[in-house]
């Protein structure tokens, strides 16, 4: 298909509706990304607290708990790593599209945002899966420390 010089808005009647839905979606994934980062930060803090509180207790269960807490902290950092930040640069948009037909620009921006959105969504899914691992490791750590306490109380 040959590149089209101009396109009428009547050829894409729902363009503005799609743009506004995408706008809301963009806000939503940014919130979800921030929420996942916050949860990962909490797990990282909790892991640090566990490692510090257990200290140098000479119990196998406590050492296992500490190791799991360190792993949970590592997994939390692993959650934070993928960034959900890809956007359209205003300067790049101005420089490349200022003199273009407006509907054409809107369609290029729409298609670019769809690609960015897909990438950001994939990153969010990755973050969510990693957060599950981090949570499971922290739970394992807490259980190991509990076992250590029970064993010490019993013995």
């Amino acid at each position: 298909m040959q590149p089209m010089q101009s396109v009428a808005e009547s050829q894409v009647p729902s363009l503005s509706v799609i743009e506004s839905v995408l706008e809301r979606e963009d806000g939503s994934y940014r919130d979800r990304g921030n929420s996942l980062d916050t949860k990962a930060g909490l797990i990282l803090s909790a892991a640090g607290v566990i490692v510090a509180l257990v200290g140098t207790t000479a119990s196998i269960a406590a050492i296992v708990g500490q190791a799991l807490a360190i792993a949970a902290g590592g997994a939390a950092v692993w959650v934070i790593l993928p960034r959900v930040d890809k956007v359209i640069g205003p300067k790049e948009l101005r420089d490349r599209h200022l003199s273009m037909d407006p509907v054409r620009t809107r369609l290029i921006v729409l298609n670019t945002r769809v690609v960015l959105h897909a990438k950001n969504e994939a990153r969010l899914v990755t973050k969510a899966i990693r957060l599950r691992y981090a949570s499971a490791l922290l739970l394992g750590s807490a259980v190991a420390i509990l076992m250590s306490g029970i064993l010490r109380a019993a013995g």
Binding site: M1, V12, R83, D85, V87, G89, E92, T112, R123
Partner: protein
Amino acid sequence: MTGDLVMSSAQPEIAAPEEAPRELLLPEDIEALFPADPDLMVSPEGDARGLREVKAAALARRAELAARARARR
């Protein structure tokens, strides 16, 4: 004032040329005609690797669409 009115009523009415209705564009046409522009993409938090990946994906999709259009022709 009156002269203006007379002048305006005396002018023959010229009908505006009716623009032929253009056909609706389908999503695949939109994607092929106006593909995502990798040069517009930025990463405000400096994720260079992620940005490279997304730009590469956009370029690959652009190449795929161009190849499909060539094959159709």
